[in-house]
Symmetry: none
Subunit: 192 residues, 4 copies
């Protein structure tokens, strides 16, 4: 693996453990096994490293969402949404400190909002992907006309997002079974 990736992985690990504010370049360099100077041979600055790491988050969820699109009309809706819900809860849980760190420096957020928009990035993309899938199902007649696909998506992913937040806040460590149970309860309530 080249040094750039080594730095990125080290930075991700440190950022998740310490939060953005307490993540120092010295610590990243130590974790990556290189000098502080080397960081600047591969990234413009610390912010650049953070953004690089941030973009790599939620990949598991994003991959699951891509495959979701082709499942319209197959199996049951609930069964199709299961892996998505699980992936969302998992990725949200793992990335929460990093995702929230975006708000610890609002000027940085401001600086990159436009870029996010241009590249169509951001956490709302997941909700839109689920809504798109549900819309297809609705057109296939598998969801009642009066239901609002986007609303269902917001409820489902929103509950996962907040749950991930709260679990992180309380410092709980959820087992896979506990996570699966939460997802089940959400899905069962939305799709009785």
């Amino acid at each position: 693996m080249d040094l750039k990736n080594k730095i990125a992985e080290a930075a991700e690990q440190v950022l998740l453990a310490n939060g953005l504010a307490k993540t120092t370049t010295k610590e990243i360099a130590r974790a990556a096994g290189c000098s502080e100077g080397s960081l600047y041979n591969h990234f413009k600055n610390k912010e650049d490293i953070f953004l690089h790491v941030l973009r790599g988050q939620l990949q598991n969820l994003m991959r699951t969402l891509t495959s979701l699109q082709s499942l319209a009309g197959k199996e049951t809706i609930r069964r199709n949404l299961e892996p998505v819900t699980r992936a969302a809860l998992e990725d949200f849980s793992n990335s929460m400190p990093l995702i929230c760190s975006v708000f610890s420096e609002p000027d940085m957020l401001l600086r990159h909002r436009e870029g996010f928009a241009l590249r169509n990035e951001g956490p709302h993309r997941a909700n839109e992907a689920v809504a798109a899938y549900l819309f297809k199902e609705q057109q296939l007649g598998r969801i009642r006309e009066e239901m609002d696909p986007k609303a269902i998506a917001d409820l489902l992913l929103g509950s996962c997002f907040q749950h991930a937040f709260q679990v992180n806040f309380l410092g709980k460590i959820e087992s896979n079974d506990e996570r699966a149970a939460f997802c089940d309860r959400m899905l069962s309530t939305l799709f009785p």
Copy 2:
């Protein structure tokens, strides 16, 4: 108003605007119209100020939740939940940078988790309050037996929480009407 409150209000304003990491004692003092030294006549340190402000968040929501408990059996459930949903979205939207700042310094979170638990504070309290209300309604026969009150609460508040996050992330400024519309869509989906 005494200086302690003036400092707290100034700190809240600065924290919401700048995030915890970029909130300096110098800036708080400037906003409060006092010297930096005065901060330490009323608070132990910067962290103490932050925690003081943090505890004051979500008050609108909490108040609404208190009145909710006595509404079981009256009006329609959906109508009862409307102000709660609105308050949640509003408070979450206004407090998001501050709430997320908790994750920017994990050791601070660690340091105060026990205290939060002892005082039964934390964002999960809201979900429990809504669930308690729905449970009462269920016992009154106004909600079907097989529904899970906690799950409904998690879906409703979770969607508001994530929506608040996304709106903050994208830098959108939502009008009251837009907020109301979002709440309506969530409630209509959960209570068709």
Copy 3:
């Protein structure tokens, strides 16, 4: 006891425990049971308090030295010097942190040197008093002509002073018996 004395005693206790550098006005006030403001009703400033306390040190030794002067010609010289030596060791031991603190702020020392000289204060006074006594004994023929009274005084008190320093440095707590033994050894060596 009036407040001025209460403050002085509190300051002495705090100064001996914490050293000048770590002695704060807040701590003195707390120990004296009054407000910080009150300190300034009785002393010009913190330095003034320190000097007041400093002047009160070595009182036991000074008293013993006064009585020493009238003992010339009586008993044995060694017996006469015993209480002086003991008092010196004791006072030096108890006051060492305070005495040394004089050097922690050389400009303060500079500022008050002239005053010390005018009032004929300072640690060298003790040596001179012992030398004066020994000179009387010499004139009474109880000490050989070729001996140097001042040198004997310097050896005797110097050894006590350094011993007090070292005991403080090492953090030892000497019993009265240990102190007496040290004094005996010094006197026995000087007056075989």
Copy 4:
């Protein structure tokens, strides 16, 4: 000379001039001709710098004490002790503000006492070295049996130590001749 040594020398100079309490990192950096930040590339903190400087004190005396050990049986005892006494007076005089600074922050002293003990450092080492030499002389029959070598060492070095203290306290600047005269008087009294 590398920067670490430059900082150490600058710190020594500032510490001797100003005392520990009034020695600021800013001042050390200015004297060393580097930035304050650089101090922390070479030392853990200000205390670390102080301890580094402290350990370098009394080197002249220590060197003299080492050569003293091999002089037992040669020349006269008094002649052998002369350079030691001179070195002691000189080093004590030069280092007094620094040595006394140890007492200006008793918690620091507490923190490092164990370390001093482990490394067998401390001002009492000098006395022991002189006593060891005198003991050898005693075994060679050059000192009477009933004399106490440690007592003689304590008298000799103690008088130098206190003299150095008093000279510093009074702000006198002693010439080499004055110092030599003092040493002579002490030695002549102890070894008539």
